[in-house]
Amino acid sequence: MLGPGKVWKFGDDVNTDYIIAGKYKLSITDLDELSKHAMETLMPDFSKKVKKGDFIVAGKNFGCGSSREQAPLVLKHLGISAVIAKSFARIFYRNAVNIGLPVIECADIDKIEEGDILEVDMQKGYVKNATKRETYRVKPLPPEIQEILLEGGLVKYVKKHGRLPWQ
């Protein structure tokens, strides 16, 4: 179970430059420092406002653009418990899974508002909106992906199992 946590709502096509801009990614290598600039272009004080356990809720094509793994990393570092979006760009999606940040596709994004309190059960496949007293069904993640997420990402998976998931 993920949450309960507060919703930070964003629109469609949130690209990786908006999640963490190149000018920071290519000048700051310390994750604490880098995370201070997460989502800055869209919400200047995001890193100060967000609390551990909160959710990002967004429209379609979240994470489009570059393959920078710093994008899911800064969100996870700030304590985001999951990104819930109508759809994801593919490299961001794979990167998020590989670093252990849950990514959930949900068709009912429009019913969720900023500030709502959510709880998510990835195994059972639902998002519960405590504020609106609603529950949205989501597609459970494929078992191979859940396995990597449950271990906390690919590095932790390899450390535990001594092999890659596809070996």
Binding site: Y18, S66, S87, L164, W166
Partner: protein, 420 residues
């Protein structure tokens, strides 16, 4: 049932009879990582107890995103990369060699029918040579360095048929901007885009690289073009031996087929702050500009520099406009010197920087101030991509960028038809 080129390559690389939707574990033919993500890759490799690279000859390590380093933090990253590359005998490309994608092409590491991954979303560029190439993150790159294998979902393919002769002053960049504006930023998510048709056939390999480079701007896993006699001639000139790639079967199944007739296409421009916000140059003509950037993995090749030089020849940049020219590689730079293009750029008043990513990556060499406007031949115009969030980036062909540099405002290059 027939197969697309992507299905054939992934079947070959996995040893499975694979079709769209299947999950396969494919053998990787080449892998590339650059300084933008190297630290994360190297750390993940060490954490996974990595001791040796699966095949050092197939691993390229490139310093191009902040090259030469502009910050001490990145000097440390570069130092770490050199230590790692030398320790493991990987192919290493020092500051000044060029942009990773151009170097992968020039090195012969990319071959028709091969599977190539890179820690950069524009790895899809290599599809112009008939390879299946895609961008991955740093943790997966570490896994590839360990094992030489990676899982893929075999993508469905969108067939993009491009027909017609390109009008004067209309170039491959205009074609791909038109396509991106039509398919939109998420229209090809998880899919391959196969570029076909008489227009593609008549393009040189450099122009084709511009098409496939921007496949990811539509969310695509890769952009791909069947290898033909031009591809093989290009590879032969690079010193690659006899190679035979794959072509799509006549009865291959495409998820969608989209046709473009480009015989009346006008010069295109992608407007702030999204790549798919595409208009004809005519619609935005006259907007004052402060910076022009000619370069990047999209349009920094010799073909592109020649186009820009033709328009700039004997002229000077408009007062108040800075023009940054960055050849995509040392090889391109040298050729441009030999052909006299660099002289033309110098006479025009350009700042010519060493081969690398330049301002496109947002680190240095052309950061924009608030309120400034840049016309760029690169591939992304997201807000704050090149500096201030209050600056604007327009994406266009080298011809449109050069014409705009002459006039000091966004300009339709057809005003310079006699130079073309």
């Amino acid at each position: 049932m027939g197969k697309t080129i992507s299905e054939k390559i992934l079947s070959h690389a996995s040893g499975k009879d694979a079709y769209a939707g299947d999950i396969v574990v494919a053998r990787i033919d080449a892998a590339m990582m650059h300084d933008g993500m190297a630290q994360l890759v190297i750390n993940a490799f060490k954490e996974m107890d990595g001791r040796t690279l699966w095949d050092p000859d197939r691993v390229a390590i490139v310093i191009d995103h902040v090259a030469p380093s502009a910050y001490e933090a990145f000097s440390k990253v570069h130092k770490m990369m050199r230590v790692f590359a030398f320790k493991h005998n990987a192919k290493f490309y020092e500051v000044g060699s060029g942009i990773c994608h151009q170097l992968m092409i020039e090195s012969g590491l990319v071959r028709p029918g091969s599977v190539v991954v890179g820690s950069d979303s524009h790895t899809c560029t290599y599809g112009a040579l008939g390879a299946f190439a895609t961008g991955i993150g740093s943790t997966e790159m570490a896994a590839v360095l360990l094992s030489g294998r990676l899982w893929f979902k075999v993508p469905e393919t969108i067939e993009v048929l491009i027909e017609g002769k390109l009008p004067p002053m209309v170039f491959p960049k205009d074609v791909i901007l038109k396509i991106a504006g039509t398919i939109r930023a998420d229209g090809a998510t998880y899919k391959a885009i196969e570029f076909k048709g008489s227009t593609v056939k008549s393009m040189n390999v450099e122009g084709r690289l511009t098409l496939t480079n921007m496949a990811v701007e539509m969310g695509a896993k890769t952009g791909i073009i069947e290898p033909d006699e031009k591809t093989y001639a290009f590879l032969k000139a690079l010193g690659c031996g006899e190679i035979k790639g794959f072509t799509s079967d006549e009865d291959a199944e495409y998820s969608e087929s989209i046709k473009f007739d480009v015989s009346d296409l006008e010069p295109q421009v992608s407007c702030p702050h999204a790549v798919d916000n595409v208009k004809s140059v005519k619609e935005v003509e006259g907007k004052e500009i402060n910076q022009v950037f000619i370069g990047s993995c999209t349009n920094g090749r010799l073909y592109d520099l020649r186009i820009a030089a033709k328009i700039m020849k004997g002229k000077h940049a408009k007062k108040g406009v800075r023009v940054i020219v960055i050849p995509a590689s040392r090889k391109v730079y040298r050729e441009a010197v030999k052909e006299g293009l660099i002289d033309i750029f110098l006479d025009f008043g350009c700042a010519i920087c060493n081969p690398g990513c330049g301002p496109c990556a947002g680190a240095h060499q052309g950061i924009l101030a608030p309120g400034e406007r840049c016309i760029s031949t690169s591939n992304r115009n997201f807000k704050a991509r090149m500096g201030s969030p209050e600056a604007e980036i327009y994406l266009a062909s080298p011809a449109t960028a050069a014409a705009s540099a002459v006039m000091g405002e966004i300009t339709d290059p057809r005003r310079f038809l006699k130079e073309g």
